[in-house]
C-alpha cells in the first residue's frame, strides 16, 4: 500500500504550474491520464515513466523544493552551486520515486476541494481508498510572486512530508560534512 501511495504521490507531484481556479480539475485530469498510461500494457515500464513525468513536470517547482530542503545553507551558496544543487535534487526526487510506478494497481482516488491556507498557499487533499485503509495525500501549492501561477512545493503522504524528510536529511548531513560532499552524494 505504501508503494501505491508513493506512486500517486509521484503522479501528483509532477504537474505543471496552474491557475488557482483550475487546481482541482487539472490535478484530476493529470491523475486520470497517468493511470491510463500505467494501465496501458503496450508500453514498457520505461516508456510509462517517461510519459508520466512529462505530464507532471511543469507544475512541480524543483527549485523551491531544493531551496526549502536545504534550509539555511541555501543562502550561503553561489548561483552556480544553487543551480547544480537544484539539478541534482530534481534528479534525486525523480529517481527515488520512479520505480514505485510499477506497483500501482487499480485503486479508487478521490480528490477533495482545494483549501486555501493563506493568500499564497493552497492544500489539495487526495484520498486513496485501499482494501484496508484510506490514505491521505496532501499537495501543497504556492503562488509564484507576481504571477497567478501555482506550483507544488511539497507533498505529504500519510503524514510524511517528502520535503521535510529531505530537509532533515540534509541538515543532518551538513552537520558533519560539506555542501560539496552533499552534492556529490546526490
Amino acid at each position: 500500500m505504501l508503494k501505491k501511495i508513493l506512486l500517486l504521490t509521484l503522479i501528483m507531484v509532477f504537474s505543471h504550474g496552474v491557475e488557482e481556479q483550475n487546481i482541482k480539475s487539472v490535478m484530476d485530469t493529470k491523475t486520470k491520464e497517468s493511470i491510463k498510461i500505467l494501465k496501458n500494457s503496450t508500453l514498457s515500464q520505461k516508456q510509462k515513466e517517461k510519459k508520466i513525468i512529462k505530464i507532471m513536470d511543469p507544475i512541480f517547482s524543483y527549485s523551491t523544493m531544493a531551496k526549502i530542503s536545504l534550509g539555511k545553507t541555501w543562502k550561503t551558496l553561489t548561483k552556480k552551486e544553487k543551480k547544480a544543487f537544484t539539478k541534482a535534487f530534481e534528479h534525486k526526487i525523480k529517481r527515488s520515486y520512479i520505480d514505485k510506478l510499477k506497483l500501482y494497481n487499480n485503486q479508487k482516488v478521490m480528490t477533495s476541494s482545494p483549501k486555501k491556507m493563506k493568500s499564497n498557499r493552497i492544500k489539495l487533499t487526495t484520498k486513496i481508498v485501499g482494501n484496508h485503509e484510506t490514505y491521505k495525500i496532501i499537495n501543497s501549492f504556492f503562488k509564484k510572486k507576481n504571477t497567478n501561477q501555482w506550483y507544488i512545493y511539497d507533498v505529504k503522504l500519510a503524514g510524511v512530508s517528502i520535503i521535510q524528510t529531505f530537509r532533515k536529511q540534509f541538515s543532518a548531513f551538513l552537520k558533519t560534512k560539506s555542501f560539496n560532499q552533499l552534492l556529490k552524494s546526490l
Binding site: L6, K75, D99, A158, G159, T165, Q169
Partner: protein, 820 residues
C-alpha cells in the same frame, strides 16, 4: 574466668547446660524455614554499578519481553505434517502455562515473502505457515534466509527450530525498584525524613516479598513447562534454554547436588571418623556438633533474612570444615591428655582439654573472623554477606563446640583408650622425621611450588560461563549448547547508540523562504523525520560489525527491519521517505515487535540486541567487551553519536571483574590483618613472617593449579582463596601455640618439633583427612563448580597440611625465632 565458668557451671550441670543448648538451638532452629536461597541476577549485582542503572533505564525505554527458548528438534522433517502437528499441540499446551503471555514459533511468525505480496496485504493480512495456501518450500527458504529468522528461529541445517515463550512482564518489580532507588538516594544524601525512613523499610520488605513470590512463580512455571515438554519427547528432542532458565536451574542443581552429595559427604565423614578414632563417641560427637552448628547458622540466616546466593553457597561446606577442625582438635587433645594421665578424673581431663584448647581456638577464630570481615569492604553484596555469614558461623561453631563437647563427654562414661591407629599416627610421625632428616629437599620443593604457583597464576583466567557449569554429557548442557551454537547464542548483550540532538537550521531573511521555514521548522521534530540517511548508515554499520564478530550469535536491531524491508522492496534499500512512511503507518502490534525494542526516538537512541555464544571455546568476555567498545570508538564520530554497552553480559562481567579485583584487594588486606594479628599473638616479627609464608603457599598452589588446569576464576571458584586462608591459618595457630608451649618446657627446637608434630599434628592430619575424603565425593557431581569446589578444597586441605606440618617446622628449625 573461663576455668571458673567450666568448673562451676558447665561441668557441674552438664545435663542442664546440654539440654539448654540443644533446646535453644532447636527452638531458634524454627527460623530455618525462613532461610532462602536466591541465585537470581538481583543478588549478584553490584550495589553502585552505573551500568546497572543504565540497564534499568534501557529496559524501561525499549520495551521487550523476557523470554524462554525451547529448542525443538523433531525426529521427522521440520516442516512435515507430523512435526508441525506435534509443534501445534505442544505450543497449544504451553500457552496455558501461568506466566507465559504468548508463543512465537515457525507456526505463528509471519511469512513476509512466501510468496511475495503487497505491503498493504502484508500489514493487514499477515500469513503464517498455518495458512493453507503457504508454499512450504518458500517458507523454508524464508526461515533460512530472512534476517528476522535465520540462525535464531531455525538452525542452518533446518533440523531445529526455536519456540519462544514470551513471559509476563514484571511491572511491579520496576515500580518497587524505582521507589527504593529514590529513597536510597535520599538516604545516601542523609535527607531522609522519619516517615521516608519507614517507607524505605516497607519498600524493602514488600520488594523482597515480591521477588520471593516471583522466584517461586518462575520455578513453578519452568517446572510446568518441563512437564509439558516431557510429554512430547517420543516425537522430538526438546531443550529448554534462555538466561532466566539458567539462573533458576543452577540454584536447583546446586540444591539437589548438595542434597545428594551432602548426605554422602556426611556418610563419608562418619566412615573416616570411625576408621580414624574407632569409637562411636568420636563419630557421633563431631557429627552432632557439626549438625548443631549448621542448624544454628542457617537459622540465624533465616532470622536475619540473609539470603544464600551463588557466591555464599559454599559457606555451609566452609562451616563444616571449620567446625570439624575445632572438634577434632578437642578430641585429639582429650585423647592425648587421657593417655598421658589415665588415672585423672573425667571432669579434670575434660576441663584441661577445654582450657588448653580455648586460647589457640579462640585466636584461630578471631584471626579467621578478621580475615572474613575484610570481605565487608568489597562493595559486592553477596561477598559482604559471605563475610558476615562466615564470621557469625565461626562464632556459633566455637560456642557450640565448647558447650556441647565437654557436657556430652561428662555425661558419657569414661572409657579405656584403645590403641592408637598406627597408620594415621605414621603420617604425623612421618612429617616430623621428614623435617628432621631433610637437608634441602623441602626448600627445593617449596621453591618449585612457588615457581609452579606463579607461572600457573599468571595463566589464570577470570571467566564466568554459565553453560560450562554443567558437564558436557548432561542433557541440560546439550540443550544449552544447541541453543547457544545453533539458535543464536545465550547471554544478552545490548549496544545502545545515542545520537546527539540536531541543531535547528536558522530561518533565512527573505520573506518567501521565511514562510517556508516556519512551516517546516514546526514539524521538523516529528518522529517520522527522525530516520535520516546518516543514522541509517550508522545503524547498518554497527549492525554489520556486531554480526561479523565470531562470538555474537543473533543480532537484532533496526537494521534487521531495514534488511527485511529491502528484500520486500525488490532488493532496493528503503529510502528515508519510505522508512518514515513505514514508521507512520505500521500498525501498533508490529511497532511493538519490530520498532519499540530497537528505536527510541524520544531519547534519540537505538538498541542492538545480541546474544553472546557462551559456549565458544576461548571466549574472553571482558576482552570482547573491551574490543567492541574500542572498535565502536574508532567507528563512530562522537559528535554525532555515542555508544554504551549494556545488559546481562556487561552486568555479569562487571560483577566478575570487581569480584576479581576485590579478591586481590581483600587478599592483600587479609594478609595485612593477619600480619597484625600474628604480631599481636606471637609478638615476634620473624614468627609472623614465617606464618605468613606458610599460609601464602597453599593459596599460591590453588591459584597455580587453577591456572595450569585452565579452571577459570568464576563466581563459584572465586571464594576458594578465602577458604584456603581460613583453613591454613587455623592449622598454623594451633601448631605454633603448641610449639610455643612445648618450647617453654624444653627449649630444644628439634625435640619440640617432634613433640608438636606428633601431638597437634594428629589433629591436623585427622581434620585434613576427614575433609579430603569427605569432599572427594563432590568430584562426582554433574555441576563443574561443585567438582572444582571439591577438588580445590581437597587441594587446599592437603597443601595447608603439608605446609604446616613440614614447611612450618622446617622454617622454625632454620630461623629459630623463639628465644629460650
Amino acid at each position: 574466668m573461663l576455668k571458673k565458668l567450666y568448673q562451676n557451671i558447665i561441668l557441674k550441670y552438664p545435663l542442664s547446660i546440654l539440654a539448654l543448648t540443644l533446646s535453644a538451638i532447636l527452638f531458634f532452629g524454627l527460623n530455618i524455614t525462613k532461610l532462602e536461597i536466591d541465585a537470581s541476577a538481583e543478588t549478584l549485582l553490584l550495589e553502585d554499578d552505573k551500568d546497572l542503572a543504565f540497564l534499568r533505564e534501557i529496559e524501561k525505554r525499549f520495551t521487550g519481553n523476557d523470554a524462554l527458548v525451547i529448542a525443538y528438534k523433531p525426529k521427522a522433517d521440520l516442516l512435515s505434517k507430523k512435526s508441525l502437528d506435534t509443534l501445534r499441540k505442544l505450543t497449544d499446551e504451553l500457552k496455558h502455562v501461568e506466566g507465559v503471555v504468548s508463543i512465537d514459533s515457525i507456526l505463528s511468525l509471519p511469512l513476509l515473502y512466501s510468496p511475495p505480496q503487497g505491503m498493504d496485504e502484508l500489514l493487514h493480512n499477515t500469513r503464517s505457515i498455518e495458512n493453507s495456501d503457504v508454499n512450504l518450500s518458500m517458507a523454508k527458504h524464508e526461515f533460512l534466509t530472512s534476517p528476522l529468522y535465520k540462525d535464531s528461529l531455525v538452525n542452518k541445517k533446518f533440523t531445529i527450530s526455536s519456540i519462544l515463550l514470551n513471559l509476563k512482564r514484571d511491572t511491579l518489580y520496576q515500580e518497587f525498584l524505582e521507589k527504593r532507588t529514590a529513597l536510597q538516594k535520599k538516604q545516601q544524601a542523609s535527607t531522609l525524613t522519619p516517615q521516608e525512613e519507614k517507607n524505605l523499610k516497607e519498600v524493602n520488605l514488600t520488594f523482597k516479598k515480591h521477588r520471593d513470590a516471583q522466584r517461586l512463580a518462575t520455578t513453578k512455571m519452568i517446572k510446568d513447562i518441563r512437564h509439558i515438554m516431557s510429554k512430547y519427547e517420543i516425537d522430538a528432542s526438546l531443550f529448554l534454554g534462555g538466561v532466566q532458565m539458567i539462573s533458576n536451574d543452577i540454584v536447583n542443581y546446586v540444591k539437589s547436588d548438595l542434597m545428594t552429595y551432602g548426605s554422602i559427604l556426611i556418610l563419608l565423614l562418619i566412615l573416616v571418623l570411625g576408621i580414624v578414632f574407632r569409637k562411636p563417641r568420636w563419630v557421633i560427637l563431631p557429627i552432632l556438633i557439626c549438625t548443631l552448628s549448621v542448624i544454628a547458622i542457617t537459622s540465624a540466616l533465616g532470622y536475619w533474612g540473609w539470603e544464600i546466593t551463588v557466591i555464599s553457597s559454599n559457606f555451609i561446606a566452609l562451616q563444616l570444615i571449620i567446625t570439624i577442625s575445632i572438634v577434632l582438635h578437642l578430641i585429639v587433645r582429650y585423647n592425648e591428655l587421657h593417655t598421658k594421665y589415665p588415672h585423672a578424673s573425667l571432669k579434670h581431663t575434660v576441663l584441661l582439654t577445654m582450657l588448653s584448647k580455648s586460647t589457640p581456638t579462640l585466636f584461630a577464630i578471631i584471626t579467621t573472623i578478621a580475615g572474613f570481615t575484610s570481605l565487608l569492604f568489597s562493595h559486592i553484596h553477596p561477598i559482604i554477606n559471605l563475610g558476615w555469614m562466615m564470621s557469625a558461623g565461626i562464632v556459633l561453631s566455637f560456642i557450640i563446640s565448647f558447650l556441647v563437647f565437654p557436657t556430652v563427654l561428662i555425661l558419657l562414661k569414661k572409657v579405656e583408650q584403645p590403641r592408637q591407629n598406627k597408620r594415621s599416627f605414621s603420617l604425623a610421625k612421618m612429617s616430623s622425621s621428614i623435617v628432621s632428616s631433610d637437608k634441602k629437599a623441602i626448600f627445593i620443593i617449596t621453591l618449585a611450588t612457588i615457581i609452579f604457583s606463579i607461572t600457573g597464576a599468571s595463566q589464570l583466567i577470570v571467566e564466568n560461563s554459565f553453560i560450562n557449569y554443567f558437564k558436557e554429557d548432561t542433557n541440560i548442557y546439550k540443550g544449552m549448547k544447541i541453543i547457544d551454537q545453533e539458535l543464536g547464542g545465550t547471554t544478552p548483550l545490548d549496544i545502545v547508540l545515542t545520537f546527539t540532538k540536531e541543531v535547528q537550521p536558522v530561518a533565512s531573511t527573505q520573506e518567501e523562504e521565511d514562510e517556508f521555514a516556519d512551516e517546516f521548522d514546526n514539524e521538523e521534530d516529528n518522529d517520522q523525520y527522525w530516520f535520516t540517511d546518516e543514522k541509517i548508515d550508522i545503524i547498518k554499520k554497527v549492525h554489520n560489525y556486531l554480526y561479523s564478530l565470531k562470538d555474537t550469535g543473533d543480532v537484532k536491531s533496526f537494521a534487521t527491519i531495514l534488511e527485511t524491508g529491502k528484500i520486500l522492496n525488490d532488493n532496493k534499500d528503503l529510502d528515508s521517505v519510505e522508512i518514515a512512511l513505514l514508521y507512520k503507518k505500521l500498525p501498533k502490534k508490529y511497532q511493538d515487535i519490530i520498532l519499540s525494542p530497537y528505536v527510541d526516538i524520544e531519547h534519540d537512541q537505538v538498541r542492538f540486541s545480541t546474544r553472546i555464544k557462551d559456549s565458544n571455546e576461548g571466549l574472553r568476555r571482558n576482552a570482547l567487551l573491551e574490543k567492541i567498545n574500542s572498535d565502536l570508538d574508532t567507528m563512530l564520530n562522537p559528535k554525532v553519536v555515542t555508544h554504551k554497552l549494556s545488559n546481562l553480559m556487561v552486568i555479569y562481567n562487571n560483577m566478575l571483574q570487581s569480584l576479581f579485583s576485590s579478591q586481590i584487594a581483600t587478599l592483600s588486606f587479609v594478609l595485612l590483618i593477619l600480619f597484625a594479628m600474628f604480631m599481636l599473638l606471637f609478638r615476634s616479627l620473624l614468627l609472623t613472617l614465617i606464618t605468613l609464608i606458610v599460609n601464602i603457599i597453599p593459596i599460591g598452589i590453588v591459584f597455580g593449579f587453577m591456572g595450569w588446569l585452565h579452571i577459570p576464576l568464576d563466581i563459584m571458584t572465586i571464594t576458594i582463596a578465602a577458604i584456603a586462608m581460613g583453613i591454613g591459618v587455623d592449622n598454623t595457630i594451633h601448631y605454633i601455640h603448641r610449639f610455643k608451649a612445648e618450647f617453654e618446657k624444653n627449649p630444644n627446637y628439634l625435640q619440640v618439633t617432634h613433640l608438636t608434630n606428633e601431638s597437634i599434628g594428629h589433629a591436623m592430619v585427622y581434620t585434613s583427612l576427614t575433609v579430603i575424603i569427605g569432599f572427594s565425593i563432590l568430584t562426582l557431581s554433574n555441576l563443574t563448580p561443585t567438582i572444582y569446589f571439591g577438588l580445590l578444597t581437597m587441594l587446599v586441605m592437603a597443601a595447608a597440611l603439608i605446609s604446616n606440618l613440614i614447611l612450618l617446622p622446617k622454617l622454625l628449625l632454620l630461623i629459630k625465632p623463639l628465644r629460650s
